[in-house]
Symmetry: D2
Subunit: 340 residues, 4 copies
């Protein structure tokens, strides 16, 4: 049994906490959050101990692993502290919004052999996993093109936007990871971005886009296109397509039910898509935890690991810079470490 | 080149005539219809000669084949006359509504080697043909169950109903042929029917059903279910499913376009189904003519032939009798002739 | 909080027990099973007390509700004992295989006001519920036809068959309930059955069918067709279709993932269907428990209740008798009690 | 009746000729082609007169309209000659591969009031038309994004490539027109292109790409993405998606039949997509001719007209230049003329 501390008692912390509490091979020992009331309520409902200082858990030798679901700007320090204390880490994305801080984190982790996993939960969706497996099995042959569509049902509120890092770093970062995971890209990636403001004026006021598209070319010559929107009236639109020399595999959308309606106006009409990421990816968080626990138990480095988090951030940085400059940028992945 | 006479200048005669006129290996010589004005108009538009007496064509040695698209009660006499005169015959279904007359026709055809094809046009639909091919190729293994759904967009007008022979003989006869074609059934078939009046009172006044279901069991033990309705607001519903030991193949519905709409109420909503049999099976009539011309040219007996027409009628008769008696009836196909 | 005893520690008892243990408004107090070792293992894993005699729980005033997941032949006595002791009852289907025993149970329940729910879990599937809601909302207008397809992936083992009551009572009983639920049928139902042995010889040796079809007509004139098979190589085939004057609604099949493959042989190929009822209806059991707890809490009579269990059995009895006699049978539902 | 001359007796000329010959409101008078033998064979089969010099038809006052299906480099001179002679013109795309020649053509057409239509046949596909209608009807609200996928089954042969103008001018030009038609774009368009060689070495040797993607932004801020490939093993992949504030409409792919297969490996597998543009767009050419004849008869300017041809070429030129320079280019549409 692996003993956990969950840092952060917000929406994601609660979800991870509940999954840990229910897991046969895990035990939730601590919930850490500076807001004492919320922390105690969450800890109580999950049968854990509430602490306002995560340092207590990080220094407790009985703790094997921490889940970091606190605000982004606290991630780097918590990762370093936990890793140096020998704890395995499952950290929500992004590692940080500032590449310099991510690189400092990387330097400070040198020599630590502890497992660090970044929470790209989409990799644990059954349909995306089947897509990945098909690609690995050679069903599409050599990859020629990846297309990813990612549309949120509603834009985030203004106060969230301010801290989000923007559409590329908050929303599209999942799609960058998806692309790198599917393509197993090494070497260089060319990145070009276009974006605009078509939805809500307050998004523009924050200097952010609400509609964006990134076009990438991998060293193999394969192309990748990512399409993001902050609003989608028919639900949470999540599609991935991999096209190659031998065919195509798609990860199609998931509807709320399998009902089909036939009227004088329409045939085969289904219910709208799943409404949001919690509904669409509910099972993914549990499978993500399984994978993390499996890696920790078997002393394997988890995937997606720290480098996955860093590389997705590199692409997000390049996309933002391309949007501003109007020109293509090249990102180089160094070969120090096999992906992931 | 095969020289044709089309008998009957109504909707079906016009359709066959147009297909013949456009066919490279055929020439439309005569259009025959007792209503002179209509006959002349149709013949003129197709570049053919109008005759009010089909006997002229039947006795004309230059004529190779006749298409019989006249009223049902005239079919038997025209088939016999044309066949005895050595013409190949493509006759619209049904051969006749009266089994005694069909059997007389069969006796009078004894010794005639001429090709007789019955117009079960659905056999020439690309999707149904692909279904049949899949079954023949063993894709579903041994057939365990056939399901056929056949729903017309609107009920026929009252004056048509009076001459139609009823729902089993007018509408479901196509499905009986479909079932026999797919199952390649020999020996006996058990038939049980249920039906009712749920749509239009005038249908009940004619002593007919508007909603009916037939359940059959072939000698192999395989089951077949046919579902017919005289009204369907979402278009012309035509589905066939063959299920067996190795899987299932379906002939799915065909929508008017491949547009898919996504709104806050629905996902993947398509346009309604094709509106009626002329729209759904437009290409089938041309392929049916190809098959007929091919059989005539190669001196092969066409399929569906006379026996197909007779067997479908046997099932329709049994269904009507079962509906009236409330009990199951057994139909025996004699082994005189390989199906078709 | 409602205190539960689960009677029967087999597959279904474990599932109900796990759902109760995790439910906020429920507490699992006892697990009862005569096989002491299994009983203790299950009770321990769920934090409950193991008892070999369910009478202990039935007589314990702290217990509010029992779930009966023991062998079928024990259901009637346990229902009566629990109900007389004032416990709410959630009993797995069927109530019993013998209608005389069901009617005795009904008589002995006279005067008991306790809630009795029969475990027709399909009613709590999200897609079937959306179908039911659409029908209730009048989307299809007046019902003209219901079609239900129900195909299990593999036939049950021979030792199970002996106690199952046969295909109509074990498998199709769920479809009978589905039909009655959707049609809200009152009055009489005409039932006709056909069936055969196409799959495994040992099923025939048990005097049972493996492939069956039932055709029914409700008092309204609407038709219903049920298609069952004991083997289906592409997974667990579960489809329901309701057709009426204003359109059609289907409860379509559910595939294992939403991946779609495109090759030179096929387009849009999806993964096979969910593999079995536990996979397909996993969420239904939790929602069924919610509904039961909701009814108990609100002192409402649950639906599906005792009469639902009895009526489904009446149809199964009629189907079996129709198969043997080859003739149609009429079932009369008395009007004593509003459905459910 | 409108009297036609078809110039060019190759594949496209034959198709247009056959559609004209069969059209009630048209008469095919001449087929013109310098290769006398082919010209005569085609003319004979269509009941027309063969001429090797198209000038004969252009000067014949009995001729109302010409269809230009000759090699691209002859288009401009033929358009000018025919227009000056008062003939309506239906010209296959592109007008020319050289923008200077197109602009010269435009100048020389000044003052001619004759109808000139460019053969962007996809606009007459039933599904694309339904998509356009939905957009016009406001179903998706304000357009935020257009996505077009266009993948040919096989790359063209090397000798064709040399004259094709390259992937942007030969293949993607249809998608540029589709995008402009759907967006009704005015003002400026920003264009950025990426491409590569992943399929056949001989394509690279011709200095062309085989895999390309163009990203565009209209003056409204809406984005458009076009994805082209010269090879697609599952058939002719033709998809269009328009996403906006109120929803999404897709023009989905069209399979060869509506058969669906269910096996232990797959569910709902359909036949591959239509195999090529002739199969996919067979009906579009006839509807294109209808639209041309309708415009000529009603003295309306046809759509897509000359400006549509010019604008699509402007985008193709910009895409090629962007691919070479690696930077974004802006195309300005002058406001002289309403689109089309």
């Amino acid at each position: 049994v692996i003993n956990f501390c969950v840092i952060g008692a917000g929406r994601m912390g609660q979800r991870h906490g509940a999954n840990i509490a229910r897991h046969n091979a895990a035990r939730l020992v601590y919930v850490a959050d500076p807001v004492q009331e919320r922390c105690e309520a969450v800890a109580r409902s999950l049968g854990a101990r509430a602490i306002t200082d995560p340092g207590i858990a990080i220094e407790d030798p009985a703790i094997d692993a921490v889940v970091i679901a606190s605000p982004t700007r606290s991630h780097v320090d918590l990762i370093v502290a936990a890793a140096r204390s020998g704890k395995a880490v499952l950290c929500e994305k992004p590692i940080d919004l500032d590449m310099q801080r991510v690189e400092r984190c990387e330097r400070e982790l040198k020599g630590c052999s502890t497992a660090i996993m970044i929470g790209f939960h989409r990799r644990f969706d059954a349909t995306h996993m089947a897509l990945k497996q098909a690609v690995k099995d050679g069903e599409v042959g050599a990859i020629e093109r990846i297309s990813i569509t990612s549309r949120d049902p509603q834009p985030p509120p203004a106060n969230y936007l301010a801290e989000s890092g923007g559409q590329f770093h908050d929303q599209m970062i999942h799609d960058f990871d998806m692309a790198l995971w599917l393509a197993e890209a090494e070497g260089s990636v060319d990145v070009y971005a276009m974006g605009g403001n078509l939805i809500e004026p307050y998004i523009k006021e924050h200097g952010d886009t609400d509609t964006a598209c990134v076009l990438m070319q991998f060293a193999s010559g394969a192309l990748c296109q990512i399409d993001c929107s902050r609003r989608c009236v028919y639900g949470y639109d999540q599609r991935v397509e991999v096209f190659g020399s031998e065919g195509m595999v798609q990860s199609a959308n998931v509807t709320q039910t399998a009902v089909e309606r036939f009227t004088h106006r329409a045939a085969m009409a289904r219910d709208p898509l799943k409404q949001n990421f919690l509904q669409r990816y509910e099972a993914s968080y549990a499978l993500e935890l399984d994978a993390f626990i499996g890696a920790v138990s078997n002393k394997q480095y988890p995937d997606p690991g720290f480098q996955s988090g860093k590389r997705a951030l590199m692409l997000a940085d390049a996309a933002r810079a391309s949007l501003r400059s109007g020109s293509r940028l090249r990102v180089e992945f160094d070969g120090n470490r096999a992906y992931p």
